[in-house]
Symmetry: C2
């Protein structure tokens, strides 16, 4: 049978789907701008209509027919067409099977649960949130019955964020990380407490000095230039929550926030979102303007943002490179700070209770404990009243800290109230992927030299050619294998952390 005609029609159909995706992105971007507040529920209506149109296209009988007709001939297709088919099928299977009533009940519940979480968080009142969390877990477990998965239901949720990831792979990965990092944290922590006079025992005071927004903004715009971001294609904005939006191949909008008593926050948010943006801009047009343009996975996207934020941004070469810019823009406010103090300040680590404030060393453990809890309650259910106890035990085990109240514990994140079970692992995978990629990069180019000399055109171009150009053509794990020659492994991440923080804290 000649499938060319069908394939062409399928591609046209996908172009339409992509146009709707882009519209949905743009509507969401718009909702985060400085716009009239009272219009919000009406904007939600418009977004609802567009999201429903997109959903309809992704799960239609027409889509089913395309999948049925093309799957039998998929081996004859190019990698590009294979990928279109693979991703369309995944989206279809992850959506078409969920009963409409269940879907709507879950959507309604999420809206209520987020409000309830907000109240519970403010009042440090887990009991108030508990029935919502219970229901969210129950419905999520129900939903997994209508999703494709191997071995255990939690894999279905993980796969919404990371194609083909499994608890089997994650258990191994996270087990190795825990085995290496928990002792390292303890060593550093012991050293900090044993010698409180040491300057690395406390967060340097200059990091909290007052720096007006305008000065921070000036610096962040310079950082974009340093990273070789082209303003005609990528623009930096200010929003309450930093993000990066790909509107199209040549239109990426990212943002940071300015805390006048924590200037480093704006710097590292800018670098993080710039990393997402560089990845997006580097995806070639022939993929970027299709359903394959969103990057390999949430975790892989996170690997690129964290590469620019942590590997580059918190590295000694980069801090040296931007030191003069920092002092020119912020010097009058932060006072005299040496390059070494700056570098150490940006890399201050300590066990802490709050994930979003955690440093590069301890961050991944915050993710792992959430993964472990989610896996248990999605697969086997749970007495939700007991969850804070489990939470607090894990904090004690991993960090040696006591959780004084639920606001600083289980209530700290909004994600669960939004029904996002399975999404946290992306952050950990990002760290693992980028360390493995870094190890490879250093074999192929003079990475530290390029950073030291600020040759970001070359770095970005290298990443485009070796990494970014694949976007979602293959899964994240396949790409890691293709690029580095090894399956995803946490060993380079462990080595990276061990080397960097031993040098800083244990010498």
């Amino acid at each position: 049978m000649d499938y060319t005609q069908t394939l062409n029609e399928f591609c046209d159909y996908l172009k339409k789907i992509e146009a709707y995706s882009k519209v949905n992105s743009l509507l969401f971007w718009d909702s985060m701008q400085k716009i009239p507040k009272a219009g919000s529920p009406y904007r939600a209506n418009t977004r609802g209509v567009m999201a429903a149109e997109l959903f309809q296209l992704q799960t239609s009988g027409q889509m089913r027919r395309y999948l049925d007709q093309l799957t039998p001939v998929q081996d004859k297709l190019s990698d590009f067409h294979k990928a279109l088919l693979r991703v369309s099928r995944l989206t279809y299977e992850q959506n078409a099977g969920i009963p409409k009533e269940l879907f709507q009940e879950f959507e309604g519940l999420k809206a209520e649960a987020m409000d309830a979480w907000d109240t519970a968080y403010k009042n440090n009142d887990y009991d108030y949130f508990e029935p919502y969390l219970k229901k969210l877990i129950t419905l999520s477990r129900e939903i997994t019955k209508h999703l494709p998965f191997n071995h255990e239901p939690y894999n279905a949720l993980l796969n919404l964020y990371e194609e083909d990831i499994s608890t089997e792979a994650l258990d191994k990965m996270f087990g190795e990380i825990k085995a290496a990092i928990i002792p390292l944290i303890k060593q550093i922590s012991d050293k900090q407490t044993s010698n409180p006079a040491n300057r690395l025992a406390h967060r340097p005071e200059f990091l909290s000095r007052y720096v007006p927004k305008a000065a921070q903004e000036k610096l962040c715009l310079r950082l974009c230039k340093i990273l070789a971001l082209d303003e005609s294609k990528a623009m930096l904005y200010e929003t309450t929550h930093p993000f990066s939006f790909t509107i199209n191949t040549n239109d990426v909008r990212f943002s940071t926030r300015y805390d006048e008593h924590d200037f480093a926050s704006a710097i590292f948010s800018t670098l993080h979102e710039a990393g997402h943006s560089i990845y997006s801009l580097n995806i070639p047009e022939e993929l970027n303007e299709t359903i394959l343009g969103g990057g390999a996975s949430a975790g892989f996207h996170e690997s690129q943002s964290r590469f620019y934020e942590n590997v580059i941004g918190r590295g000694y070469e980069f801090v040296s490179l931007i030191y003069n810019d920092i002092m020119e823009c912020l010097g009058e406010y932060i006072g005299p700070v040496s390059l070494q103090e700056m570098y150490e300040g940006f890399n201050y680590v300590t066990p802490s209770l709050i994930r979003v404030e955690a440093d590069e060393l301890t961050y991944t453990l915050h993710i792992i404990m959430r993964y472990e809890m989610e896996r248990e309650f999605i697969n086997n259910g749970v007495d939700t009243a007991r969850l804070p106890i489990i939470w607090n035990e894990k904090i004690r085990d991993y960090f040696g800290l006591e959780v004084p109240n639920n606001k600083l514990g289980i209530l700290q994140d909004i994600q669960w109230s939004a029904g996002r079970f399975g999404g946290f692992v992306s952050y950990a995978l990002g760290n693992v992927y980028n360390a493995q990629l870094l190890n490879n990069i250093k074999k192929e180019i003079d990475f530290n030299g390029l950073v030291s000399r600020g040759e970001f055109h070359k770095i970005n171009e290298y990443l485009k050619e070796r990494v970014h150009k694949y976007s979602q053509l293959y899964t994240a794990a396949q790409q890691i294998k293709m690029i580095t020659g090894e399956e995803p492994t946490p060993k380079y991440f462990i080595d990276y952390l061990t080397e960097k923080f031993s040098k800083l804290y244990l010498n």
Copy 2:
């Protein structure tokens, strides 16, 4: 036959159409923001897909069936449902009949012609633009054959902007305006030239003094407050071309531009766009969230913007009201200017060549001459090489001025290059409508008193109850008749201009 089911389905179908309209508005709004330039062609793709989806819904076989099934029972319907049917039918008839090839040829031509116009304008080279204009006229004439109209083809184009308007009505209206205003302009002009020492003989110099953007912006934000605009529903922005966008019932975004050597421009653009915005915000939700939410017509919308810009904004009471604000915000830049000087400066009139810079008195004649030319060349065709000669003759007849070159003449407007024949009249109709409404308003409320005291909540509320609440429930002409008891007539506009400018210039 029971039509209730069909009517409900029709209403649901229209809700979807309206959602697409809103998306298209928002995409257009976005394109005017500070966003990455290089993304423009891709954004155009997305807009193209969404516009095509909207067009498809408006002209589908499904729509045809709704119209066929509901038209026979329309007399039984409520005014609201009648209007939905009327406007849907009009949109259908104005779009469904145009052959696809012709439509696409015209769309393509417009894009080319706008580029050609841009070059021709910069080089003052009408010959370069002429072949494009010729083709635009030819294709527009061809398109009118596929549109509904009475008597003459030009009516078809007029009706794209103003439902049910005809050259018959406009000839009468414009004839009366010309008969009254041309002599008045001549009288004032003669007086200005006869006594060049008189302070009204020249544009006051303070209007051109340097005023930094920040000071102007401060003033314009105050003006929004004075007009009782609620920032949670309507926000002022800055763009190259001022506009007002209705995103939804509670989300109206309007803009102004800041010329640092013409502060009055920002003030009156703000008032003009605020007028559009107040109209939009005053349209009740049950209409605003439907296809009837866009106001009665382009001309009627323009009547409301010009009401706030000219009738209110350039009136003595309003200038008195805001005088202190102007001096507080701008005084250090414009120097000492008395209230009387300010009022006279804002109302400085003189015959001039450029429409967009024309004053309240002469502006309408610029529109009338375009109307006369369009009517002739759309109905009967034209040797386009002769159009500049015709243009220049009209300028001589109406204003007593010589056109030194085509850049200051026929090339000045972008509209024709965009194929917008028939759209200019809205501006003239706006002036006619608002003067007629003003005459009525003054009978019903203490208008001048309310403006003097700055009681804009009351003015806006009055306009909502008496005018704005109808939106597109009836045609503009029907509403003028309903509200004022008279058919649209230019006599109040003529009286208004004669009284105002005789007092200023001829006493």
